[in-house]
């Protein structure tokens, strides 16, 4: 039983406000700072650091960012989506197959169609979860394999393509490699800002946080668990589709043998690094974006350090586990205190 001495919180005191801001946004700030630090460090490791390098990093990281965002949306709402990696592969190969040789206008329509379709099928996954009451993990493990299988059916062999304009949208060049980072940055910024605003300021978006934070209080506040969950998975699906497009734009072809499971793991690691609580209700896309980029960044950095690319994968894996463990400890301490 806590009895407050005052019923008002001190607001005039700038120290208290600063402290509170630090607690709320400290992690986000930390992640951005870490990203900057890593970029600076990287620039000292390689002989030449300029637009080319920056562009490569941003381009390559785009699909990681969107996949992490998709996972973040679902996890914040209290779920988890193991299928995101598979959906990325599926949308990427579907795009590769349908867009090959088409003019840009048609490609745009196809792209919109794929985004909507991805939202729809992942929304159905969300519906299955609420209707069956089977845990998210199991259903999405199944959806991961279904998506991968469908991808193989649609594009059995590596191939397909898109158009130069399409590739330019995501990479700033018609070949997937270039020196113009702005298109990718715009492609990242616009959806992220929109989704972020939606989640933090609108009633439907805040419902995701409500459901993930305290489903009972959410119920009492009139939040529909079913509708919220389905929405979360649908939005996640749409973001996966954009991730798939980015991947297609960079490589230029579709490859259905890409391991969706690994991509999913990376997305989970990225959101944990980005301060999203795996139990739900906590996190923001503002921190997930740099976190995903940092994880993508590991590989180039380790290469620059002269580490064997395969060993790099080990280091990355170990780092991911460490991030998880730290997050797990933080979560445990948070639970013990309450």
């Amino acid at each position: 039983m806590t009895s407050a001495d005052t019923t008002t919180e001190p607001t005039g005191r700038s120290f208290a406000t600063l402290k509170r801001w630090g607690q709320r946004h400290g992690w986000t700030l930390g992640v951005w700072i870490l990203l900057v630090v890593l970029v600076v460090w990287y620039s000292t490791l390689i002989p030449k650091f300029g637009g080319f390098q920056v562009t490569n990093i941003i381009n390559g990281g785009t699909s990681w960012i969107f996949l992490a965002a998709a996972q973040a949306v679902v996890v914040i709402a209290g779920g988890i989506d193991l299928g995101v990696g598979g959906l990325l592969v599926l949308t990427s190969v579907t795009g590769a197959r349908l867009m090959d040789g088409q003019p840009f206008g048609v490609i745009l329509i196809i792209a919109i169609g794929i985004v909507l379709a991805a939202a729809l099928i992942n929304g159905i996954v969300g519906w299955v979860i609420t209707a069956s009451k089977v845990p998210d993990i199991v259903i999405t493990l199944g959806s991961l394999y279904i998506y991968q299988g469908l991808a193989l059916m649609i594009l059995p062999k590596v191939g397909g393509g898109s158009s130069d304009t399409f590739r330019w949208l995501f990479t700033g060049s018609a070949t997937g490699i270039g020196t113009n980072p702005w298109p990718a940055m715009v492609m990242i910024a616009i959806p992220m800002l929109i989704v972020s605003w939606w989640m933090g300021r609108t009633r439907s978006g805040l419902s995701l946080y409500a459901l993930g934070s305290d489903s009972n209080a959410a119920f009492l506040s009139g939040v529909s668990a079913k509708r919220t969950k389905i929405t979360a998975y649908a939005v996640g699906g749409a973001l996966c589709a954009v991730a798939g497009f980015s991947s297609l734009a960079i490589s230029g072809v579709g490859n259905a043998t890409t391991e969706g499971g690994n991509l999913t793991l990376n997305s989970v690691a990225a959101i944990v690094l980005g301060g999203v609580a795996l139990t739900g209700g906590i996190g923001s896309l503002v921190a997930v974006v740099p976190a995903a980029l940092i994880l993508f960044f590991f590989n180039p950095i380790l290469s620059a350090l002269g580490v064997n690319p395969n060993q790099a994968q080990v280091v990355q894996g170990v780092l991911i586990v460490i991030v998880m463990m730290v997050a797990g400890l933080i979560e445990w301490r948070r639970r013990r205190r309450s």
Binding site: L144, M153, M324, G328, L329
Partner: protein, 337 residues
Amino acid sequence: MTEDPNVTQSDPMAVVDDAPGKVSLARQLSARPQIVLIAVLVVMILVTGVIEPNYLSVAGVRNSVLFAVPIGILAAGQTILMLTGGIDLSIAMIATASAYVAANQSPEGAAIAIVLGLLVGIAAGTANGIGVGVFRVNPLIMTLAMSGILLGLFTGWATTIFAGSKRMHDFIITLGRDTFFGGSVPWAAVVWAGVALVVLLVLRRTGYGRNLYALGDNAIAARLSGTRAWQVLVVAYALSGLLGAIAGLLLGGRVGAVDLQLASLFLLPSVAAAVIGGTSIFGGVGTYTGTILGALILGVLQSMLTFLNTGQAVQQVIYGLIVVGLSWMYTKLAASQ
């Protein structure tokens, strides 16, 4: 005259069964899913026999069993972990890693090769267990990450530490590939039988098995009875690692040599076999007997799909649908009781 406002609508405690004679057929069947599974197995064998008449022979069944062996052993690990509400997504990679090490050490003799291979599995499993049990990392994440770490380790050291032999010792090959009784009973099946006996024993006739079920059924009650969860979990994941290693050795023996994709195909089926067999991902419910039947069903399914000439793509979709569909069904059955 009784009242208990704390009891909620969906209270699993509130089911009263004071007249056991009135149990319905559905309830009886769901209490003994093994009967249904055996029926499904028989039907599938017959159907496959219709598709390919040559299947209904010793050779045909033997092939299905051979395919089922690694699934069955890997699924033993999954069963143990799912009983606690966990899962092991690294078990296939552990199997591969163990096989790799065993192949590397094969020139030193079968004993050393096998022992070291098993140790790899136990070590990786224990690491998983510490992550999940002590650090409370989500089992999904921990094992997925372990999978990535192992892959990276072995890929990275392929040209250095593990640059040695890729070929398995003859003894292991015998266990993995050969048969006796004139080509009808594979040694691998015997190994599986041995593993099965031990697993069944541990689950049913040891205090540890009781702890596993208790932890999965109601972790709070287990804690209030003095069980310390982290101990049970570390051992559970270590066991899973050991089982993964055994499966890996048999697989490596069957193929004769190792590569990094050795066991990856078997991961999802190992989960599927446990789910088919009635082990609930929620924990506390499930038997290895059911899992064995699940693995056999998948073995027959594999034969069936091979005869139908379906590709890997369709198989993946089918496995995914099986996992989703059966979990749904079992959950519905459990809720209706």
